[in-house]
């Protein structure tokens, strides 16, 4: 039986914090030199360390992350997950560790789309089931589903989609590696799309774990680790509101 009043953290493997992520979204988590790396990987290690646990990363697909966090395959999911009301109905979130601004990305020579209202009726490529997809639909875009960020950008550059919505950080990382990309972007003001709160996703019936993770994040924020990691991966501090 699951005892929801217990404040003790239940772990998939005792002594280990098992962290689910995709590992296919730079700079959050990706693969470099044969090792899993990225902001969320370093963050996961830091959280585990503060909690006195060993960190173990389990990469898999998004649907599997959703299916597995309910089935105790992972203790938490660190995968650039935005807090939404719908998700909160099913899962618990930690306190946010990233406040992410949304950017509207188009081809350099695009003159049709100047701000978010202009996407109405335009072909906008977005990740399946992401919050970006919800926002794009809200503004009346014709959405084109595309699972990988790199694919999405390819679609835009090949002229097969007019634009996309994504986090500013993801795009900046891409532009850092591809300075000649035929892309421009515009930050969507938070009055149109609220900046997304990114947090660790976990099962609802594990308040002990939530407490532990929140405490760790608080300490990491306090001792400057969060800021240091943010600067390392995003060249700016996006961990503050």
């Amino acid at each position: 039986g699951k005892d929801s009043s217990s404040s003790k953290a239940k772990l998939d493997t005792p002594g280990t914090l098992t962290i689910g992520l995709e590992g296919t979204f730079a700079p959050y988590s990706y693969r470099d030199n044969g090792k899993l790396t990225g902001f969320e990987v370093d963050l996961g290690k830091a959280i585990a360390k503060k909690a006195g646990l060993k960190a173990k990363f389990v990469p898999t697909k998004w649907d599997s992350l959703i299916a597995g966090v309910g089935d105790n395959k992972f203790d938490i999911v660190l995968n650039d997950v935005t807090i939404t009301k719908a998700r909160q109905k099913h899962y618990d979130f930690s306190t946010p560790y990233i406040y992410s601004k949304t950017v509207l990305i188009t081809k350099k020579d695009n003159t049709d789309i100047k701000n978010i209202e202009d996407i109405k009726g335009k072909k906008i490529a977005v990740g399946t089931g992401t919050d970006n997809a919800v926002q794009a639909e809200k503004y009346g875009a014709k959405t084109l589903s595309s699972s990988q960020f790199a694919d999405t950008l390819a679609l835009i550059q090949q002229g097969r989609a007019e634009g996309t919505l994504n986090s500013r950080e993801a795009l900046l990382d891409y532009l850092k590696d591809n300075p000649n990309a035929d892309l421009k972007y515009k930050v969507v003001p938070s009055s149109k799309i609220q900046s997304a709160k990114i947090a660790a996703l976990m099962s609802k019936d594990n308040p002990g774990l939530k407490k532990k993770v929140n405490k760790a994040i608080k300490e990491l924020r306090a001792d400057g680790t969060l800021e240091k990691l943010s600067n390392k991966y995003f060249t700016s501090n996006i961990t503050e509101k």
């Binding site: 998004w62 649907d63 959703i66 309910g70 089931g129 589903s145």
Partner: protein, 231 residues
């Protein structure tokens, strides 16, 4: 849960009717034609003038390469290269066309092996008997050898067909919003991937069962002339 099922099933089913079924049917028909063509060229023995024979040998080599290539690499990569890769060399298809092209070529490669084996399993004597009443190569092939070879090839061909139904789910990676993707999108909102997958599985099973039944009757029809031994 009941609500979820009632709400999402029609949506998933509709995606199946809109994409899964046409992708499967069109690709299988084209793939089958490719398979037959490839098999025929590969078993043929060129004759006549040496230039022509040389070109023919080259075509055979090329087709062997095609079969090897499409059997040996993952379908997903094939889809990717056709949809995202070819535009780099100036060839661009919309998603549906790219899907049809890739699925057809992939099925064609697998089925060509099946068809080749089946044609070779028809005894030489059937060719001779047909030639002896004055038939041309094409007549022998299409009126005598093919109908018999098809009977032999039916079970593995239907395996390929049923496999293709499900392989079309990969079309989501080239922006086609097919059944599986729809179920994933719904799962992204209701956080019940297991349930959504089960619904999608039922819809697939429905399509596949129709195919299995068709196969069963076709098999029966094609075996109408075969005597079954007693006991």
């Amino acid at each position: 849960m009941w609500n979820t099922i009632v709400n999402s099933t029609p949506e998933i089913f509709w995606a199946g009717v809109k994409f899964t079924i046409p992708l499967t049917l069109i690709s299988f028909v084209i793939g089958f034609v490719i398979a037959v063509g490839t098999a025929l060229v590969r078993i043929s023995r060129p004759k006549g003038n040496p230039v022509f024979a040389g070109l023919w040998e080259f075509l055979k080599l090329f087709l062997s390469f095609y079969v090897w290539l499409f059997r040996s690499t993952p379908l997903l990569v094939q889809l990717f290269i056709v949809f995202f890769g070819l535009p780099n060399v100036g060839i661009q298809f919309d998603a549906f066309t790219a899907g049809i092209i890739t699925f057809s070529l992939n099925t064609g490669a697998y089925c060509s092996e099946t068809v080749r084996g089946a044609i070779l399993s028809i005894p030489e004597s059937q060719w001779e008997a047909a030639y002896s009443i004055g038939m041309t190569y094409r007549q022998v092939l299409f009126r005598i050898v093919f109908p018999q070879a098809l009977r032999v090839a039916l079970p593995p061909l239907s395996n390929s067909f049923i496999g293709l139904v499900k392989d079309t789910s990969l079309a989501s990676s080239i922006t086609i919003l097919e059944m599986f993707m729809v179920s994933q999108q719904i799962a992204a909102k209701n956080y019940e991937p297991l349930l959504m997958y089960s619904i999608v599985a039922v819809v697939y099973a429905l399509f596949c069962t129709v195919l299995s039944i068709a196969q069963h009757y076709l098999e029966k029809y094609m075996s109408r002339y075969v005597q079954v031994t007693g006991e």
